[in-house]
Symmetry: C2
Subunit: 107 residues, 2 copies
């Protein structure tokens, strides 16, 4: 389990990846861990948050649109090298968004 | 479990609520279900997605900033009427973002 990402003051970019899994692991857990490792090494990476209980939601945070786009290409490459999205996901949606404000219990 | 929200063409607004729970239910499940029901009745509501496994992520989608802000006030009111955030959450972060593009397996 990941925690709450420590992101800087907005604006920054959030990539919301919502997915429904296929049955069986089929290497998914290993791929998923590798993806999080790889993301953290990319330029502009700010953090990642993930949860799954049937529906999966992964939100990655990026300094700007350019680094979010570059990550998309890296992630697509990793998936393509392995089994392809159809093996793991029965459906998914990616939403790229600009965070304009944020707050928590202390702000 | 909710499914993938059927949102319209961007732009629209995503409110990403990431949280860590306190121990015990303390009425949380009932409050959470009530919140999702209430959200769906608000003007500008487009959909909601939620997952929790330790970390919880709820993303609600809204037609514009105005409806997202109005929902914030309604949600805060519901929480205040009940036990308050401190009962349910040890930490949380709310991020309000403008979705600029999205895509799935078929687009």
């Amino acid at each position: 389990m990941s925690g709450i990402a420590e992101t800087p003051e907005p604006p920054y970019v959030a990539v919301v990846f919502t997915s429904l899994r296929t049955d069986g692991d089929n290497g998914y857990a290993a791929m998923s861990a590798r993806m999080e490792e790889l993301a953290a090494q990319q330029p502009g990476y700010l953090g990642i948050e993930a949860a799954r209980d049937g529906l999966g939601i992964t939100v990655s945070y990026w300094a700007d649109e350019e680094s979010a786009r570059a990550w998309k290409d890296v992630a697509a490459h990793v998936v393509a090298q392995q089994r392809g999205r159809d093996t793991w996901y029965s459906d998914y949606r990616v939403r790229v968004a600009t965070v304009t404000r944020d707050y928590g219990p202390l702000s």
